[in-house]
Amino acid sequence: MIRSVQDDRRIVITGIGLTAPNGDNLADYRAALLAGRSGVDHYNIRYVGDTLAGQCRFDELRHQKRREVRRGTRAGSVGIYCAQEAVADAGVDWANIDRERVGVYIGVTEHGNVETENEINEIKAFDYDTKVWSHHHNPRTVANNPAGEITLNMGITGPHYTIGAACAAGNAGLIQGAQMLTLGECDFAIAGGVSESIHTFGIFAGFASQGALASHADPARASRPFDKARNGIVVSEGGCLYTLERYSDAALRGAKIYGELVGYAMTSDATDFVLPNPVQQARCMELALKRAGLNADEIGIVSTHATATTSGDIQECQAVRRVFGKSTRTKINNTKSFIGHAMGAAGSLELAGNLPSFHDGVVHATINVEDLDPECDLPGLVLNEPQEVGDVQYILNNSFGMLGINSAVIIGRV
């Protein structure tokens, strides 16, 4: 189709900063996805004990002083690393940019549980005497903390806040950044999602109680969306932030452009706290397509949200089949099979891993599928080995979350 959006209303991605369990920059992460390298490993956390998780190994001190690390939160450190790396990658003249016009929009699944659990554990040693409860608790647990720490570290005086959107948060952060650029609230946005959730025992215990925590003798094979023997979620930490600019600004400075946000949608199920609703998920994808002015067949890759729960995967497959079932060119993959579920970072990380397809023409696989669940047997599913497909024009990235929050973004090649 021919798009006719004015250049100052087109939003493009000009920089990517990320940390994933299998890579701390886009090149390493992409190489791991193409090589089938998982980032999931053994993990131990208080009360729960031995389990599995995707852990990030980026160097916190690359962009923070030790004092800043001590003062702040892990989510803050993840965000600072990703924001700094994204800005460096964007090649923008950061020293001279008007930082009053920079906005920071960070998606989070949850925030504050890590610090609260730590403090309760700490005061337990003092017979629950709240006089030893840390004065750092409130600034660490306010919901804007991960975004605020980025502004403190980078001297940004434009707007900042987090977007609480369960596991749709990575997409939601990206969407928010684009909307604020379109509204003229900022001229340069740092947007995406982060997660520190592996440092809270509650998320592991909660999924375990729900019967949705993955287990496997081999950590690398534990996260297995679409496989018949899948047994739940591998919780991971991670972060992926994008620098977003209006196309007119990016073109003027000759910026490298990873892709353009050509469509997006967010919808709600209004049906259940936990169980997804394929009808609403499909509506979300259809709405994103409609806003982008695209047919399903024009989407080269659908990056699925599937988390490897028994019912969730089937329901997303129903939704994807409903929208893309007749598409002959669309390939479908899943990044959680490599990195586990990076929660608030999942949407933006999973999109990032697919963006290089615009240039290398390869679709990374969904790994760990030894026995494909017939109910997940979608046409175009890329299993276990990457596929060379040549031309990829558009990528649709799904990200869904609890309380029935759905998001889909469509990125087009520029």
């Binding site: 002083k65 030790r66 004092r67 001590r70 003062r71 006089k131 030893v132 004065h135």
Partner: protein, 83 residues
């Protein structure tokens, strides 16, 4: 605890609170703030660590005594000499 032991303890707390600082040349007579990057939350960390490690309660009105190493040790000595 002797004065030297109290000083070592305060220095240990400061090392945790200000991990980027080189405290080897700390001037005990000068205020901490003149020699290192410390804000009000950091000062509260000193109070909190003394509370956690030694169960010492320091009233807010007495925080001024924690300005320098000399004044801190002098203030803490009566409370810590029997520890």
């Amino acid at each position: 605890m002797t004065k030297d032991e109290i000083r070592a303890e305060v220095l240990d707390i400061l090392t945790d609170i200000a991990p980027d600082e080189d405290l080897s040349s700390l001037d005990d007579s000068q205020s901490f703030r003149e020699q290192m990057e410390l804000d009000s939350m950091d000062f509260l960390d000193i109070v909190m660590e003394l509370r956690k490690r030694h169960r010492i309660q320091i009233p807010e009105d007495d925080y001024v005594n924690l300005a320098s190493m000399d004044s801190t040790v002098a203030y803490l000595e009566p409370m810590m000499k029997d520890m």
